[in-house]
Symmetry: C2
C-alpha cells in the first residue's frame, strides 16, 4: 500500500491546508480586531447555551467540540476566569462536575454570533454561490469520512466550527 497520490490529489491537499489556514486566520483576525476572544470560546459558549438548562458535563463538551480532554479542562478554566461560565457540583457522579453558562456568557455568545456571521459571509459566502458551497460541502464530506455531522446546520448553528 505505497501508492503515490495523483497530481490532482496533491494539489487538493496543498490547497486544503493553505486555503483553510488563510480563511480561518482571516476570520479569527476579524473577531480579534472587534475585541472578541478566540473562536474556541465561542464554540464552547454556543454548546453550553444550547444545552438544556445551560449546563453540561465537560466530557460532553469535549465530544461535541472534538477537542482533547485537557484542552476542554483548560478552556473551561478560562471561561470561568472571565465569568462566562461556572463550575457546578455534580451529585450523581462525584468525579465529575457541571459547567453552566452565565448571563455574561450568553450575552457574549450572542454578540459574537453577529460578528462571526459577518466574517463567514465576507470570507466564504461572498466568494461562492450557494450551489458551489454545497458542492464544496459534498467534496469535503467525502474526505471527512469518519466525521459524521448532522445535515446542514441552522442559521443559529452558524458555527460549531472547530
Amino acid at each position: 500500500m505505497k501508492r503515490k497520490p495523483s497530481l490532482e490529489a496533491t494539489a487538493a491537499w496543498i490547497r486544503l491546508v493553505r486555503v483553510q489556514s488563510r480563511v480561518l486566520d482571516a476570520v479569527e483576525q476579524d473577531l480579534k480586531r472587534a475585541g472578541f476572544p478566540p473562536l474556541a470560546w465561542y464554540d464552547a459558549l454556543l454548546e453550553l447555551s444550547r444545552a438544556p438548562s445551560g449546563e453540561m458535563r465537560p466530557v460532553e463538551l469535549e465530544k461535541q467540540m472534538l477537542i482533547p480532554q485537557y484542552s476542554t479542562s483548560r478552556l473551561i478554566d478560562r471561561l470561568v476566569d472571565e465569568g462566562l461560565a461556572a463550575r457546578r457540583e455534580c451529585k450523581m457522579d462525584k468525579r465529575g462536575l457541571f459547567v453552566e453558562i452565565t448571563e455574561a456568557g450568553r450575552e457574549l455568545q450572542k454578540k459574537m454570533c453577529c460578528a462571526y456571521s459577518t466574517a463567514i459571509e465576507k470570507h466564504v459566502g461572498s466568494k461562492l454561490s450557494d450551489a458551489d458551497a454545497a458542492k464544496l460541502c459534498g467534496l469535503l464530506d467525502r474526505l471527512g469520512c469518519a466525521c459524521q455531522e448532522a445535515a446542514v446546520p441552522t442559521a443559529r448553528d452558524a458555527a460549531s466550527a472547530r
Copy 2:
C-alpha cells in the same frame, strides 16, 4: 456590509475547518508515528533543496512558506540544531544570511517525501477521484482569492498563514 451567510456557506465553512484539521492531523500523526519531525520542517527542507546550490535567504523562505518572520527564524534554529541546515554569512547584505541545507537535510527530505506521499494518498487521494480532486481545487482556489501569487503586501504583516 452585515449580510448573513447562507446555510450553504455556513455549512461549507464548518466543513472546511473540521475536515482540514482532521485530515491534517491524520497526516501529521502518520509522519510522527514513522518517527519524522513536523510537516513544517519538511516544507522548509523541500524549499531549501529546490533552491539553486541548496541555499536561500530566510526572507525568501518566509515568502515561500507563508509563515511569519519570527516563525522562520525559529524554524531555522531548529533545523540548524538538528544538523539539517546551516547558517552561512551573506556578504552582499550584512544584515542577512544564507541558510543552506546539509547532506543530512537532503536525506531526511527524501525519506519524508515517501512517507508524506503515502499519507496524502491514504487520507486524500484514495477518497476522491482525480476529477473530484480537481473540482475541489477549483472551489478552494476561489476562497483563496488574494492568496495565489497575489502581490504580497509589504512583507512583514503579509504572512499569517498557519
